[in-house]
Symmetry: C2
Subunit: 433 residues, 2 copies
């Protein structure tokens, strides 16, 4: 598969997260010649938060992880497979997730509820846990081996237990590649920030290219930090950042059965632990988490199936942020808007249509539209002496910016999407995902 | 433009509606070598009902017609133009509709509020009323001429007044062609039924191919009957039939600024007038109106931009009809479902995804799916011994039937849609509509 023309030049440099181990393996379930399993193993004392798809047909691993998190067991590992979503698989699917978590728990020495699961791939096909389980010994040994390499220890097998001190090293690139399905490039992002006088690192990977929409679509995200953060604060931080990142992107308005984003905090950095997510000591961390998650979310849009344009939509002046988000998504999800942009056609009337169909009671006589910073319409009609030339020039570029002013209040929203091209039809008329 | 492969073999035979006159003309506004104006002129004593787009950015002619209907003036004519939607045109757009209605009213001898308007075409471009008005004398003369031909009268000009007795003759085909934009074929349907012991006729035309979704998208529909029906009953009949026809179709989930459906009853048949829409004397009429409107709605789907498959989606067992409709539309509007069908891929997992994303709290362990009458999944998982061969054979045909059983209640809904193909991208990346 050709790499998206909107892809970043290269996978970023991503430092290890102290207290986290990464290992990948090939199950042979669907793909040949590539890894399709990822084990993220975290030290004792780590905390974890996650958000999941709101789909009524949530997959078995989503149900497992939701229940496991609710049980309150401290986390030991996240196990991921690509190629089969284990969704709409009934009791067989439940048996598979139980067997997978139990099998991994036995090997790393924890309770099954300490093993969280995520799957992505085809829906409705039975997933045989034995195919996954055949990779478990290797995955666990690799975690140990990697730690042994990094830590200079000879005792690889011991390190594979939950008592070991993990250090994922430069495995992020392999981890990001192992979770891909229709993705054309692996997605990673990393940054550092201060919590008090301690430097902490955040590194994350994600996958997703189609079936991307709020809430989250066929999208998996795994972010880890060495910061010490109690689980309740972690959960609130993740929810807020998800709204501003993965829930602010859309490729095709379709929402998947398997979307999951996990945030692991190992605590290895030894920072002063905050009292809550609102503690001002976390101001830099909040911004850093936004940076990493928005970077990952935008990479997913840049890998949108068939995408040739990266589109940023800003809505301002709505009655509130929720109204602004609705209007922004109505524009971002409109097939007519997306095809017009694919055709580099400055057909701003379709933006008007999308604002109207959001159905929020907007007074069109106050609505204004700008494309690429050029005002096209104001106060409910095209501007006097409108010249399409600079707008057409903007639309010929890879990055398209649409701004809509509603004139009703102070609500704002920014969402990202891509265009709808022949490539999307090609990929989705052929690929069974 | 190539005619859709799903088009009917030919335009149907459509009888004249006594009391209704039809005339078409070419304004030269956007198209060359074709008519783009339609005048429907109805006798005194006619009643009219209409439903309009719910868009916040409803076009000037929609606002005009809504207000004119609310004023309670008896109808004299509907004036339609294709090529410019007169939408998002601000005060200039309002001036245009006022001038158009006034200019036509002067010629046919009625108050401006007796002239209803509909427009379709590009959004946001000013529409010069003088270009339309240049066709008015000819349109009015043609109405007279047609009546003169039909009625054997020599007095064409007198017949053009609202006092004349109209008979649209076989102009339906020309009328249907004059209102087309991206349509590849004109759309008409006709039937007869009894009201008491009187035979009445219903004939209708429609246009629409893209931007089609509840509520109604770039869709215009004009249905006329010679039945005598008071306006309040007519309004209720139209609303109910619209829910089961034009609001049960979707091409691309986009809703237009200009959607309007008009139902005119001239009363020329002289039937016993019902007391209300619920009067049992109307049972046959209700069914006949459903037939005509569903026929027109399905023709719009068959002309869906780039459509190669006609898809019928039945949802049963939902908590209520509204829930069933939501689930059916979630499936019908899913780009992933529509591209899979374009690719003749029996990828039923995407139907599961679409059921889930509707977010109605469905219990997936009771959900079943059938394609082409073949049960694919039941009770939340693929059926034992599933054989894809007959499903794939069904999907290779032009008509695809999807049935979803929810298992929660007695709510049902049927909607129609088409697939998402390269043709859709071709048309919409190029055409400015």
């Amino acid at each position: 598969m050709t790499v998206s023309s909107l892809a970043p030049d290269r996978f970023p440099d991503m430092p290890a997260i102290a207290g986290l181990g990464l290992a990948t393996a090939a199950s042979g379930l669907k793909y040949t010649g590539r890894d399709d399993m990822l084990l993220m193993h975290c030290d004792k004392g780590s905390s974890i938060a996650a958000v999941f798809t709101k789909s009524d047909t949530a997959a078995a691993p989503v149900q497992w992880s939701r229940d496991a998190l609710a049980s309150g067991h401290p986390p030991a590992a996240i196990l991921v497979n690509a190629g089969n979503a284990n969704a709409f698989t009934g009791s067989a699917g439940t048996a598979t997730v139980t067997a997978s978590a139990t099998g991994m728990a036995q090997r790393i020495g924890c309770t099954p509820q300490a093993v969280l699961l995520a799957s992505t791939g085809v829906i409705g096909e039975p997933l045989d846990s034995r195919v996954l389980e055949a990779t478990f010994d290797g995955l666990v040994a690799d975690i140990g081996q990697n730690n042994s390499d990094e830590n200079g220890s000879d005792n690889a097998s011991d390190n594979a237990s939950n008592d070991a001190s993990n250090n994922g090293g430069d495995n992020w690139s392999a981890a990001a590649a192992a979770i891909m399905t229709t993705d054309t490039f692996p997605k990673g992002a990393s940054t550092t920030c201060m919590i008090g006088d301690t430097t902490v690192t955040l590194s994350g990977i994600a996958k997703g290219a189609g079936m991307i929409a709020p809430d989250m679509a066929t999208m998996l995200g795994f972010i880890a930090t060495d910061a010490a953060l109690p689980a309740p604060a972690l959960t609130q931080l993740l929810r807020t950042a998800t709204e501003r990142s993965f829930n602010a992107i859309t490729v095709d308005s379709d929402t998947s059965t398997n979307d999951s984003v996990f945030l692991v905090a190992t605590g290895a950095a030894g920072n002063h632990a905050p009292t809550s997510a609102d503690d001002s000591i976390l101001d830099e961390f909040v911004a850093a988490l936004d940076r990493v998650m928005q970077d990952l979310a935008c990479q997913i849009v840049r890998d949108g199936e068939g995408a040739s344009k990266f589109i940023t939509i800003d809505v301002t002046g709505a009655t509130d942020d929720a109204a602004a988000r609705k209007i922004a998504l109505s524009i971002a999800n409109s097939p007519l808007v997306k095809t017009a942009i694919a055709g580099e056609d400055a057909n701003w009337g379709r933006i008007v249509m999308a604002v109207g169909k959001a159905g929020l009671g907007v007074d069109q006589s106050r609505v204004g539209i700008a494309i690429g910073g050029i005002t096209v319409a104001a106060d409910g009609m095209r501007v006097e002496g409108y010249d399409e030339t600079p707008v057409a020039a903007h639309m010929a570029g890879q990055d398209v910016a649409i701004a809509v002013q509603i004139g009703d209040g102070a609500g704002t929203s920014r969402v990202w999407t891509c265009d709808l091209t022949h490539g999307y039809v090609d990929i989705n008329a052929d690929y069974r995902s």
